[in-house]
């Protein structure tokens, strides 16, 4: 009999001036999801079921860039993607271009388990979601004020940014405070315009 282990992440690349309350918010969500995964492992759920369970929880909370809280395309739309992989048999399922499926990772699991393929995208993936009866939401569900602000600032910065929250002007002291220092650059814009993902 082996030993279980679990790891989860909420995105890489953070603004060094990240306000403490946002760090705490993120840590609390990570702790909640970690404990969810640990109790599932102690109840002998399989690794595959546990990774799906934990990522669903992370998708449902708007704090990180996935599911509800996914960042926006240049057109202000949401295009989510996800994948899941089962190590022993090296089976996998993946989806891209989703805009109404509440939990993309669960649709990826269904692609793996219930379709003859491994990867479905855009309208085909949405059609498969309807057939499988997964929970689907209005597009507005995924779009948060934070993301609208981030997109606006990314456009002003003429940049494409990864996994960062850009504080809406005046919202975070980090923006103002950081502006006085000579900014490190990331993705072509001063790091100071970012706030953590």
């Amino acid at each position: 009999m082996g030993k279980w282990a679990i790891a989860l992440h909420g995105g890489a690349g953070l603004d060094p001036h990240l306000p403490l309350h946002r760090q705490e918010e993120a840590k609390n969500l990570l702790a909640h999801c970690l404990n969810l995964g640990i109790s599932a492992l102690r109840s002998n759920l399989s690794a595959l079921d546990v990774v799906e369970l934990v990522v669903r929880e992370l998708e449902t909370d708007p704090l990180f860039n996935s599911g509800r809280g996914a960042v926006l395309t240049e057109k202000g739309t949401v295009e989510m993607e996800a994948s899941i992989m089962d190590g022993p048999k090296r089976r996998f399922g993946a989806v891209s271009g989703l805009s109404t499926v509440k939990n993309p990772v669960s649709l990826a699991r269904l692609v793996m388990d219930k379709s003859p393929h491994s990867y479905l995208a855009f309208s085909g993936a949405e059609e498969f979601a309807q057939q499988q009866g997964v929970e689907m939401m209005e597009k507005e569900y995924f779009i948060t004020q934070d993301n609208v602000g981030m997109l606006k600032q990314a456009k002003e910065a003429k940049a494409i940014l990864f996994d960062y929250r850009i504080p809406t002007t005046g919202l975070d002291s980090c923006g103002a405070e950081a502006e006085n220092e000579n900014p490190m650059m990331m993705n072509g814009v001063p790091l100071s315009v970012y706030a953590a993902e």
Binding site: A7, L8, A12, V71, E74, E81, A82, F92, G97
Partner: protein, 132 residues
């Protein structure tokens, strides 16, 4: 981007990653998260989930490379993660990843200035962190 990697008491590994991608991305852009071997990978040996600049992770086939250097170079999990983050990301590529092995080990690595992460093992180790 969010991700989770797990090994259960039967030694089975699994990985999952989910994302909205890049802010202000072009419509139709596909990142690393759904691409097996780049943003997500699991085999008998280990499971990996990546986050960061998708195009760099895709070019570096980051997730599969962790498994490959364990398999072919005999590196241990954390050594494999450190090697891949250091050697497989092209100039300026920024990424982070989490990994578990079928021996019940956890590891992570990143060359950004932080990564939201949480790790735990059956031995009682637990860490929730943001920075280095």
């Amino acid at each position: 981007t969010v991700g989770c990697v797990v090994v259960d008491i039967e030694g089975r590994c699994a990985a999952a990653t989910s994302t909205g991608g890049l802010i202000n991305k072009m419509v139709g852009r596909i990142g690393d998260s759904p691409i097996i071997g780049s943003g997500t990978y699991a085999c008998k040996l280990c499971a990996i989930s990546c986050t960061g600049e998708g195009e760099s992770i895709l070019r570096g086939t980051l997730a599969r490379d962790v498994a490959a250097v364990m398999e072919y170079k005999g590196l241990k999990l954390q050594e494999a993660v450190d090697f891949v983050i250091k050697e497989r990301l092209d100039d300026g590529g920024k990424a982070g990843l989490i990994a578990v092995s079928n021996l019940g080990e956890v590891a992570f690595g990143f060359n950004t200035n932080g990564m939201f992460r949480a790790t735990a093992t059956q031995d009682g180790f637990m860490e929730i962190a943001v920075w280095e």
